[in-house]
């Protein structure tokens, strides 16, 4: 198996310092990029096969190609560092442990798309990441990796950190831009507001995830051929009922089972019950899917709308009440819904009411069809991906854990919890 590189220096205490970063080969990717034409940099990233690590998995090189090349048009780079998908913590880990890597990736990306201002929209709660980034940015300015005439190339770039203020919806790209412009984080209509066409301040904007830009720094440093030989690594955030929760760097296509093994497996005496493979926006999969490859290729993972998403694997063992998990998840989306569109605003409230009823022992058998019906009403009808994130957990659990729902309704109690107590 290839050596990890994204996480390679993450635990070195001095990795956030410019000299240590340079001594470990830092900014080599930028130096190489500056010897190439911007179009060649885009080409190299496209050839690497890199797909965005924010959750949508779109080709990074192709995304950059959507921006106009006209030098008279002002373009921006915006980094989505508003990591908030439940179960996801890899971007925070990268920013705290290797902040210069993100800065390097940002300069390369800005050079590739001809942007001279770049913004990091950082989650407000990431105090340590902000301190690490502010320090790294100051060092990069002092040493000529940011500001005027970077590396003697004539290229100039300024980087600005802006923080959110507590809103999951701000992670949606157009809502993020609204927030960065000082407004409520409500998503924009697509079309016409594709960021590459009408993004920040209505100018063409490349919006990239933190991990994506860290990959870019490595791709330019070592070349796309080397990168592809590494098996397209991805950072999995593994949490829940595993022995060693944490961030793991493994090739795309690693099976759910192998990712769980990497995280130390389940706790002694416990067995696997289910998982969210890609954050709480993905469907919940039972043990029958343990050998499914974790890949953007939806051929196998696309069970009731399951997906790789942000690669946040949340593992649940046999002590877990699935209804409690789904109810908690829906409550989250209800509270974080911006209220702009009806299916999301109302659907999440209705679903919560049905779950509350069932969990309080007042469920009815027809509630199962009602849950599926509300979920169908939210599928393909919501204004943005937040509302669309809700149905997969409903569809999948009503299908795979129907017995558990029926028991709750029939016996007005939880058989899983009862078994754990015994």
């Amino acid at each position: 198996m290839p050596e990890p590189f994204l996480l390679r220096y993450i635990h070195e205490p001095d990795q956030g310092e410019m000299d240590a970063y340079l001594a470990r080969g830092g900014y080599e990717g930028l130096r190489r990029a500056l010897t190439m034409a911007p179009e060649q940099v885009v080409e190299e990233v496209e050839k690497s096969g890199l797909r965005g690590r924010g959750g949508a998995g779109f080709s990074t090189g192709r995304k950059w190609k959507f921006l106009p090349r006209d030098p008279a048009v002002t373009k921006y780079l915006v980094v989505n560092a508003d990591e908030g998908e439940p179960g996801t913590f890899k971007d925070r880990t990268l920013m705290e442990g290797d902040p210069h890597r993100l800065i390097e990736g940002m300069v390369i990306a800005s050079y590739a798309i001809d942007a001279h201002q770049a913004f990091i929209y950082l989650r407000r709660e990431f105090h340590q990441a902000r301190a690490a980034l502010e320090r790294a940015i100051a060092q990069a300015y002092a040493r000529g990796y940011l500001g005027r005439n970077i590396g003697g190339s004539g290229f100039h770039l300024d980087v600005i950190i802006a923080t959110g203020a507590g809103a999951y919806i701000a992670g949606e790209e157009t809502a993020l831009l609204e927030s960065l412009e000082g407004r409520r984080a409500m998503p924009r209509l697509k079309p016409p507001f594709y960021p590459a066409v009408k993004g920040l301040y209505m100018q063409p904007t490349a919006l990239n995830n933190v991990e994506t830009l860290c990959h870019v720094a490595w791709i330019l440093a070592r070349g796309e051929a080397w990168y592809r030989q590494q098996g397209s690594p991805i950072l999995f955030s593994v949490s829940g009922h595993v022995q060693r929760p944490g961030v793991y760097e493994l090739p795309l296509g690693t099976t759910i089972r192998r990712v769980i093994e990497a995280a130390g497996g389940l706790r002694p005496g416990r067995t696997f019950k289910a998982c969210f493979p890609g954050g709480t926006s993905s469907a919940i999969l039972p043990a029958a899917y343990l050998d499914t490859p974790m890949d953007y290729d939806l051929a196998r993972l696309d069970v009731y709308g399951s997906m790789l998403g942000s690669a946040a694997l949340i593992v649940m063992d046999d002590t877990t009440c699935m209804l409690e998990v789904v109810a908690r998840t829906i409550e989250f989306y209800r509270d974080e819904s911006c209220g702009k569109c009806t299916p999301c605003r109302e659907g999440t409230v209705w679903l919560t009411q049905v779950f509350d009823r069932i969990l309080q022992g007042q469920g009815r058998m027809e509630d199962l069809e009602l849950l599926n019906g509300i979920a169908r009403g939210m599928t393909g009808t919501c204004f943005c991906p937040l509302g669309e994130s809700v149905p997969p957990a409903i569809y999948s659990t009503v299908r795979f854990f129907r017995d558990e729902y029926e028991h709750h309704i029939r016996a007005a109690s939880c058989d899983v919890k009862a078994a754990v107590r015994v």
């Binding site: 809103a167 409520r184 829940g240």
Partner: protein, 156 residues
């Protein structure tokens, strides 16, 4: 309650100058204001609006959208206990129940000595240390109920 000091106004102006458009500084400006005044009182919101040359109603509308702005006084230290799925699977409820009992407050409430405000939070992106909480800017986890006393002691 009076409005913002000249220093805070200057800090907001400096922030505004870093962005291509002034309004982009609004979220940051509200934090500057909140750090100084403690609470986003209407007078404070009006001052932020004046410095950024925006209608006060628009500033208030933006502020009310986000969780991290305060419109009522809170304690010196904000305790945010994550209650999302990964922390729930790892027993956050016991942590929350213990803190409620120990501090004698419900969710969203402040201790009578003004030391702590207790809140349940959504995923704070630190599931590797679930169950976890933040006290002010600090992350704590994986939490065990027995450790909570010692953690609270660190915050005067």
């Amino acid at each position: 309650m009076s409005g913002l000091s000249p220093d805070a106004r200057a800090a907001i102006r400096r922030l505004a100058a870093t962005f291509p458009e002034r309004q982009s500084a609004l979220l940051g400006a509200l934090f500057v204001a909140q750090e100084e005044a403690g609470v986003l009182y209407p007078e404070v919101v009006a001052d932020v609006a004046e410095v950024l040359q925006m209608p006060a109603a628009e500033v208030a509308a933006v502020a009310s959208f986000y969780h991290l702005y305060r419109f009522r006084p809170e304690g010196r230290h904000l305790i945010q206990v994550c209650t999302n799925v990964s922390c729930m699977l790892n027993g956050c409820q016991a942590v929350l129940t213990h803190l409620q009992r120990r501090l004698g407050v419900g969710l969203g409430e402040t201790t009578s000595d003004g030391r702590f405000t207790l809140k349940a939070a959504e995923c704070l992106a630190a599931c590797e240390v679930a169950p976890m909480m933040m006290v002010g800017p600090d992350r704590h986890g994986p939490l065990r109920v027995e450790q909570l006393e010692e953690i609270l002691d660190r915050y005067a």
